[in-house]
């Protein structure tokens, strides 16, 4: 069996008594590019938050790298890019360098690195997203697309194996959106990072995804996408 990095089993979740997810099971394998799709309010972001242990399901279990989520410790294997543009405080006094290097001071594996190694890792992550010349700039003074690249650099700095993205192109213009998807695709194909991306419209990334997790009426239907011919099997 291929290496399953994320598995959900019979997940149910309600908000204030209203059932959002019912008996949802799914799995994502290593190096997949999975799109979590569905209409607005379908429960896509809720499912993502459950996968990240930000919300507890009413029933069911999540496994990350074959470990039940409550026993999972290796969070440096996980990267997360939030639906950021809408929430970011543009006046926040932080440089790009300060934001990207944040995980280096938190995770046990990385916080004991030398200052030089931390600078090198920050530079490498910024280079991976094409933002190496913006180190000293304030995050709030960048364009929406640039800000989202910075959040990807921050997620990449701990060399994650699994990257979650929650509607990452919200508030970004079409041209930047295309560049952004190409960057994610490159991370998936060239770096072998498994991608789980929540999106309400996956037409633009249809040719890139290898797995679609469709949520409708609280239930999940999964399909494997054939990247070669662009059709869903």
């Amino acid at each position: 069996m291929e290496n399953v990095v994320l598995r959900g089993e019979k997940i149910s979740f309600s908000y204030d008594g209203v059932k959002v997810l019912k008996d949802c099971s799914f799995s994502v394998r290593s190096k997949d590019f999975a799109a979590v799709v569905g209409s607005n309010g379908a429960g896509k972001s809720t499912l993502l938050k459950i996968c990240l242990d930000l919300l507890k399901p009413d029933e069911g279990n999540i496994w990350l790298f074959e470990k039940p989520i409550d026993k999972f410790q290796e969070w440096d294997k996980i990267g997360y890019v939030p639906q950021r543009i809408l929430n970011l405080n543009l006046g926040f006094p932080a440089t790009v360098e300060e934001v990207v290097s944040l995980p280096l001071h938190i995770t046990n594996k990385l916080k004991n690195l030398s200052k030089k190694d931390k600078i090198n890792l920050t530079d490498k992550a910024l280079k991976a997203v094409g933002m190496e010349n913006y180190k000293k700039r304030l995050i709030g003074r960048l364009s929406a697309g640039q800000q989202q690249r910075i959040f990807i650099a921050k997620a990449l700095i701990s060399s994650p194996k699994l990257l979650f993205l929650d509607e990452p192109t919200t508030g970004i213009d079409n041209e930047t959106e295309e560049d952004f998807y190409n960057l994610i695709y490159k991370l998936n194909k060239e770096e072998g990072i498994t991608i789980v991306m929540v999106t309400h419209d996956y037409t633009d990334i249809k040719s890139m995804v290898s797995r679609v997790i469709q949520i409708s009426d609280g239930s999940i239907s999964e399909s494997i996408h054939n990247v070669e011919d662009g059709d869903i099997r």
């Binding site: 990240l52 242990d53 930000l54 410790q73 969070w75 440096d76 996980i78 997360y80 939030p82 405080n89 006046g91 926040f92 006094p93 932080a94 440089t95 360098e97 300060e98 934001v99 944040l102 995980p103 001071h105 938190i106 995770t107 000293k136 304030l138 921050k154």
Partner: protein
């Protein structure tokens, strides 16, 4: 100006003032960035109840302020969970409880005297050696905590979900920050006065943020702004014989206005 430093009470006031100028922005930066500016007001009202309790039952008011401030901090965190969809309510509840208790106890103690006024509006002459000792101890706790935890607290202020995913004990750190805010209120109340502590937490930080620098530089700039306000505020209040709290706060607001004007002029160019 040299004359002012000849007196022991002024030396104590300056030592206390410098501690206030360092600790307030160190904690203020996190509460401003987390949009919790109201918390300083809440905890200062809780500490007023503690001061009143000390006066009523005859113990050192500093201990009362410290205990009530920490209890207030813990209660805010608890109520935030109860009213998770209306987080600001917890501040209003503790503020109301604090001021209510304070008024009742001041009444019972028939204690509306100069000493209480000193706690409410700040005082140069009232800072004694025991105050300095406790303020130093609390300041050390605050400074070391921020040195050790500033990256984690910065991460939480910037992106709480991201911090939680990275495996950080976010709930514990949020509670610890609230307790540190309570300790800062107690450090600052003697010089700045209970009613103006909140301004010292917020205004120097607000001015520093306007200079458009990164996080670490913003912290240093806010401490410099606070030091200027406190040092000149104490000197002015000594020579004009007025309460230092108001003078210090007005100076820090003046700095904010100057920064905003300079920023507007630069933008015009």
């Amino acid at each position: 100006m040299i004359e002012a430093f000849q007196y022991e009470f002024m030396q104590r006031a300056f030592i206390a003032g410098i501690m206030v100028a360092i600790t307030c922005p160190l904690i203020g930066i996190f509460i401003v960035l987390k949009r919790l500016s109201m918390i300083g007001d809440t905890l200062s009202h809780a500490s007023l109840a503690g001061v009143a309790a000390g006066m009523l039952w005859g113990f050192y008011p500093f201990w009362g302020a410290l205990i009530f401030s920490v209890i207030g901090a813990l209660a805010i965190e608890r109520l935030r969970k109860t009213f998770s969809k209306y987080a600001e309510i917890s501040n209003s509840i503790i503020l109301s409880a604090g001021i209510g208790l304070a008024v009742v106890m001041i009444g019972l103690a028939k204690g509306f005297n100069t000493d209480l006024m000193g706690y409410m509006f700040g005082s140069i002459a009232a800072v004694n050696s025991q105050d300095i000792l406790i303020m130093s101890l609390l300041s050390l706790i605050i400074i070391f905590s921020v040195i050790i935890l500033h990256k984690k607290l910065f991460y939480i202020a910037f992106d709480e979900e991201g911090a939680q995913i990275s495996g950080m004990a976010v709930n514990f750190l949020n509670m610890y920050l609230t307790i540190l805010t309570g300790l800062t209120v107690v450090v600052a109340m003697r010089i700045v006065g209970i009613f103006m502590v909140s301004s010292m937490l917020v205004v120097p930080v607000a001015a520093a943020i306007q200079t458009g620098k990164g996080f670490i530089k913003t912290i240093f700039i806010s401490v410099i702004f606070a030091l200027i306000s406190v040092i000149f505020g104490l000197i002015i209040s000594y020579y004009l014989d007025i309460a230092p709290g108001g003078t210090i706060v007005l100076l820090s607001v003046s700095i904010l206005i100057i920064v905003l004007i300079i920023k507007a002029i630069k933008k015009e160019k």
